[in-house]
Amino acid sequence: MSSAGVWWLFLLIGFGTFLQRLSFIFLIGKVSMPEWLRRGLRFVPASVLAALVFPALTHPAGTLDLSFGNFRLLAGLVGAVVAWRTRNVLLTLAAGMLALWALQALF
């Protein structure tokens, strides 16, 4: 992709994202949020984040790998336990990265 092309891409993404951010801050008092939208939006973070995380662990090199040789899957599980217990980004990053480096050093 050319340099001009990526800037157009950023502008398109950025403008849409800005409209999403502005939506109800601008519209409040003019329209109210429909019930189905409010209910559906609640599930966006969990769905999208899981959709980004799962394949990154199961397809580290682009193909499905559920073996013990998939260090990213194992380290990811360590990270998942820490994320679940602590809900802390920094501790999750530390535990996952250390697990990955330990596995790479040992095997």
């Binding site: 891409l9 109800f24 801050i25 559906g40 999208v48 984040l49 394949p55 499905l64 999750t92």
Partner: protein, 235 residues
Amino acid sequence: MKPIRNDFLAGARATLPILLGVAPFAMITGVSAVAVGLSPFDSFGMSVIVFAGASQLAVLQLMKTGSPWIIMVLTAWIINLRFIMYSAVLAPFMQKLKTQEKSLMAYMLSDQAFGISMSYFATHEDVDKRWFYFGTALTVWLTWQVSAIAGSLLGTLIPAAWGFDFAFPLSFMALMFAALSDRPTVAAAVAGGLTAVMGKGLPYNIGLVLAALVGISSGLLAENMQQAARPSRAQ
């Protein structure tokens, strides 16, 4: 004038511990932008124009696999749909602002500014909510931009063998667990995650869009089932 300034500073102060998570995340976006072949200037443009880390990382990953632009745009917009929800929650506090001020507040909206403001407002009724929010949003924004620039300049120095790209799924994972508040949200995550795994081989990386839709539908279905189960138990 003084209490307003205090509320702005209180917002900035409440943000400080969170910056330990913001800075590395922003650096990673800078590092990965350079890794897919963007210049540090392009990377800076992206972080100022888009200013939404999860969508930026997803777009960079799609760029690496050579996806069509429409998939990159749709993926980013879907990831950023959550801002509509945040916007609806924050809207009542912003109602009296001028349109330009509303636009500035909206542009700076981030997961962290939203989360910090909401948890603070829950226990502090007397705060000027607009100034507190502005304090946290501006602090996050500045830290994000500086860290992203640092990441794009240092990016070429970090060896790929260290596997720092693994920090994205890990940081997403922590955010995902924070979003799991009840059974329907867990159902949404499991369904969305498994769909993404099964749809990984689909062309144009359409699996991600499909996974988001399946996840949202599963969450709604689980919520309906929960609500249907409750009255029958009461009888």
